[in-house]
């Protein structure tokens, strides 16, 4: 999007009360998420040294934390500045002062909460599992790892993937495109997940290194990895069913679902098979164009899926890997 379009959107938001307050709500949600993340970080063993901030007065803490707060909320501040620039020239109905009072209030609330939290002793973190899921099975380990350590990554990937797929479906439903357009959309959405599969490989190589020699049968490995991958892809699979699910299109929907899962499994298998990141990325470029050609030439999705599954099936067969 160009600057001009951003300006237009900002102007529309300022002129619409519902839009403006919805934006403030989004800002508030972001600030809450940021605050929670920061407090968790403070409780981490590696960062407990920062408990010494408790010795500062509130004023000193505000000054010390101001650059940190500005850096963490840069996105919000930049957008607020854009809205101010746009709002000066139009009749925003007094929303600009409300916006900046809101930002200052967030800053003060954030620092006040941090100040009071620092004063108290931090409890030892004890993970409480829900009654339904007392123990986390292996299939959920990577998902939990993403939630705990790579929250922004999983959110960003899901956002990009869903928006991308939505765009492809919008174009498809407008007419003039056949199933190959959707297949190409699924290919693009798969590549949006590339960082996730890179992380999965890294997680298994490093944090699960103890389990590399576990006597896990091939079928069990197949089940464990497939379940983990399908769990991560659930939002996109649900979107596919929602956008394309009807009794007439059921066979095609099934092919698309299988294709999407196979593409992701294939990318993951490719990353697992390659020794280093650079060769994984180079192979991924090549594979993208190969699959693109297969899609363009109308090769059946089931055949493409079978080809994509090969690297996955070979990769998980490796003896000393989980």
């Amino acid at each position: 999007m160009e600057m001009k379009q951003h300006g237009m959107i900002a102007g529309r938001i300022l002129q619409n009360s519902i839009g403006f307050y919805a934006l403030l709500l989004i800002f508030f949600g972001y600030a809450v998420a940021q605050q929670r993340f920061q407090l968790r970080l403070l409780n981490d063993k590696r960062y407990r040294i920062f408990h010494s901030l408790a010795f500062l007065s509130f004023r000193q803490l505000c000054w010390s934390f101001l650059p940190v707060w500005i850096a963490n909320h840069a996105l919000l501040l930049l957008y607020s500045m854009l809205m101010t620039y746009v709002g000066i020239g139009i009749d925003s109905g007094g929303k600009l002062p409300i916006l900046w009072i809101f930002m200052v209030a967030i800053f003060l609330a954030d620092l006040t909460l941090t100040y009071h939290k620092l004063k108290k002793p931090f409890p030892d973190r004890i993970r409480m599992r829900s009654r339904l899921f007392q123990n986390l099975n292996f299939e959920f380990w990577f998902l939990m790892y993403l939630r705990e350590n790579r929250t922004m990554l999983i959110l960003a990937v899901k956002l990009v993937s869903i928006i991308l797929l939505n765009g492809f479906f919008y174009a498809f439903h407008s007419g003039g495109y056949d199933l190959r357009w959707l297949e190409f959309g699924l290919l693009c959405a798969t590549y949006a997940h590339f960082p996730i599969w890179l992380d999965k490989n890294d997680f298994e190589l490093q944090q699960l290194s103890y389990f590399h020699n576990m006597p896990v049968s091939y079928l069990m490995k197949l089940r464990l990895h497939s379940t983990a991958i399908v769990l991560i892809l659930l939002p996109e699979l649900a979107l596919l069913v929602y956008k394309y699910g009807s009794s007439e299109t059921l066979p095609e929907l099934l092919f698309l679902l299988i294709l999407f899962i196979s593409l992701n499994m294939g990318i993951y298998g490719l990353i697992k098979l390659r020794k280093d990141l650079e060769s994984a990325i180079n192979s991924a470029y090549l594979v993208f164009f190969l699959i693109f050609i297969l899609v363009i030439f109308g090769i059946h999705p089931v055949l493409i899926s079978s080809i994509c599954l090969l690297p996955f099936l070979i990769a998980i067969r490796a003896r000393y890997s989980i």
Binding site: K45, D124, R125, I126, R127, N135, L136, N137, F138, W141, M144, Y145, E148, F203, Q206, Q207, L208, S209, Y210, F211, N213, M214, P215, V216, S217, M220, R319
Partner: protein
Amino acid sequence: MILDGLSLKNDGLAFRRLVNYSEAEPLFPEFLSMDELIAFVAKTKGADNAQIESLKETLGIGDFSKNSISTYSSGMLKKTGLILAFLGTPSLIILDEPYTTIDVGSQKLLTELVNREIKKGVSFLLTSHIADFEEFFAYDSVLSIADGKLAQSHE
């Protein structure tokens, strides 16, 4: 490599079921609890609940097993690695620096556990830097390593 008539090359899974090990500095995902790690390893090694509870009692684990690894001290982390090494019915258990970072009481418990398993016919390969390690067990052989090479064999 052959163990109990099983070849590592031809009977990989069965072979690996017979060999357990404990690392000197265990590394596990921090969000998992000891119970969750035990559940997965027990499933692959064929350990039952009775064995799990017995090992927990022997090593003095208590309720800590429900907490996440991120809350563990170095001693608890080492005990996590040790308990995983005794699961199932291994023929060979490799313990890398088993006595570091655990307290004296736990060291005695570990010695008793190792002796118990030796009587059942399990073989052990232990490494250690501690001074009087040679007195802990009646070893079949004791080797010293220096600069990555076998320096001395004590009979």
